[in-house]
Symmetry: C2
């Protein structure tokens, strides 16, 4: 597996937090439910949240053929995809040293339109499985009209970097004696009990992959 590193993806600030291993990058991409995609429209930056899914060395994004994001991607211009997991509030004694614990990936790449039927099917599969592993096999699978009604792009994962902060705050040496609580408040995305569709056919229980829902890489 390639270890991507290109000048544009070099983590400039707080370089000690920069991580370039594909395994670390993939873990963040796979755990995060959504990403934020940056692109340029009429000379200005636009950022849109959307679902992503990784398959090997590419990240798939999808949407309506009418979406500005996907239409702009037809041009092949480079996009930036940011994926961020917030793990905790880092409460230092001084606000200047307060921070967040987080894991983030920033990925640059030229999107490629996915046309091949097999690859399209793979993209639909992983986009569903990314959100809820096990769901694809339970679903009423896409028909031709739906396939034609969905635009999919692939962004290669070869200009990416991860940035990770963990652990306690780092205060100025002379502040450690202060009578101020300092430490970390851990945060995580929690799922509640599934809420059935009011039109659910009778006698259908929620599947285990939804009642016990958690993101991959989390311990539940």
């Amino acid at each position: 597996m390639a270890e991507p590193s290109a000048p544009r993806t070099t983590v400039r600030r707080l370089a000690e937090r920069g991580v370039y291993h594909r395994a670390a990058i993939d873990a963040v991409l796979d755990e995060a439910l959504i990403c934020h995609v940056g692109f340029i429209i009429e000379g200005g930056p636009v950022v849109i949240p959307t679902i992503h899914a990784r398959s090997g060395d590419v990240l798939y994004l999808h949407g309506s053929p009418a979406s500005r994001m996907l239409r702009s991607m037809r041009s092949g211009d480079e996009v930036c995809v940011a994926v961020t997991l917030v793990d905790g509030l880092v409460m230092a004694r001084a606000p200047f040293h307060s921070s967040m614990n987080y894991r983030s990936v920033v990925l640059f790449g030229e999107p490629r339109m996915v046309d091949d039927p097999d690859e399209l099917w793979e993209a639909f599969t992983v986009l569903t499985e990314h959100v809820a592993p096990g769901r694809w096999a339970d679903s009423r699978l896409p028909n031709q009209k739906e396939i034609r009604g969905t635009l999919v792009v692939a962004v290669p994962i070869d200009q990416a970097s991860a940035k990770i902060r963990t652990g306690p705050p780092g205060d100025d040496e002379e502040d450690y004696h202060l009578p101020i609580w300092a430490g970390v408040v851990p945060l995580r995305l929690e799922a509640g009990a599934p809420i059935p569709d009011p039109r659910l056919a009778p006698g259908i229980e929620p599947p285990p992959y939804l009642t016990g829902y958690r993101r991959p890489g989390t311990d539940g």
Copy 2:
């Protein structure tokens, strides 16, 4: 309070989900811990996660004077700030109709460097209070070196729109009879018990605003 709506911020896709009321926009900005800022460097889009805080009609962003994001903002070029709250997985019978429940804001604006000492102090205050209301009064407040070492920009909240999806999935009429569970898996950011800094001075208990931590607008 102005009701911002400008051509660039018009929600194009799924326009029925678009919301332009400042109260709705502010609620999303205030609840979300972080934002994703899009800007342009060397002709390409860059997206970076960062903490934001609102004070009235402006959104403050801050960081090191060496950060690429903040240096690029000195130019006054328009940036795009996206703020997203993920509220649930919308599991339709067909993947094509599956979605997320979410509340998001996309804001465009020309950043203004904050130089005025009083406004800088206000920005530092709200940036701390945004993360943990009550923290500022408990903190060792910024000194001159820290103030000089932090760059703050203000982005006006006048070209913003919110996009909100709530409620159950909407499937094709002919799919409702299928023996597939459908509905919503609610999601939210949960805080765990505060973890004390290993170097915490003895006898200091975590304050109530951290032991009972929750984001504003959530019911805990």
